[in-house]
Symmetry: C2
Amino acid sequence: MSDEGELRIGEVAKLAGTTPRTIRYYEEIGLLPVPGTRQPGAHRTYAATDVDRLTELLRLKDLLGLTLEELKELVEAEGARAELRREWQGGVDDPVRRRQILEQSLTYIASQLELVRRRRDEIKKLETELTKRRTRAKSLLRDLDSEPASRQR
Amino acid sequence: MSDEGELRIGEVAKLAGTTPRTIRYYEEIGLLPVPGTRQPGAHRTYAATDVDRLTELLRLKDLLGLTLEELKELVEAEGARAELRREWQGGVDDPVRRRQILEQSLTYIASQLELVRRRRDEIKKLETELTKRRTRAKSLLRDLDSEPASRQR
DNA sequence: TTGCTCCTCACGTCACGTGAGGTGGC
DNA sequence: TTGCTCCTCACGTCACGTGAGGTGGC
């Protein structure tokens, strides 16, 4: 479903920081759309937007620790959105329709934001704990410096 | 290597938020120590400290997205540290030794902190992008409200 | 024509999940 | 004794990795 077939699978993979095998696998399980119509055995071709999409998917999966099944659900909620965007960019006159599209977007963004913030909080908690441990260790080291021969427990 | 055998594998798993199978697997690949000496076929027994350790491992793996091999490396660097801690709590008189222990700890903590902060930055970047998108969508919605019949592109 | 990347099976691997059949402690 | 959890194989699964053998475009 690429707009223009400019890129090959290896280039897409490199740009998105993954491998051709992963792209084929994602296509196989329906996470990525089948690129255009092609003869069996012929090369897959992609557009720049496909790279963006894949990059985004990998990022969400990696940072949020989602399974491909969860990622698929998230993306299906967005599937509508992607189509709406195209519609949007085609120029939508009806304000009711415009409002629908925007509200869909907001819902999608909100669900992602919730996942991201949950992760952010967990990470921050871990960071805080580590810095505390570091502070403690450093303080003990300073004690050793200032009272080189004494002991305290 | 548990101090006291108070807990069984199922209890440990539940407390750490995982499954017995995972604990056995971690033991199998050498990520967790073999708990005490036991007859083949006998139950594994664990202490409360084992729960803490496992919880910590799962947290690092999950939040940082480490493979078990990477986790093992991180932990081996800490393996020394765990032993040092016991030594420490046993009461170390030699200030040179105390310094060694503390510096080991600091190195270990520093390496973890670096990983955590890298993740934190990626998450924050993602969060920022999402909030920006949300702001844009909200602003477009407001435009629809204030100018219900007009169009701007 | 020579490389290079691509293609499709298909088996391998990592990190477990999930029964199958049996034993052990409140 | 009855449940419950435990045990050890061992095969299944998810998300790819990795050749094996062959075809296609600069």
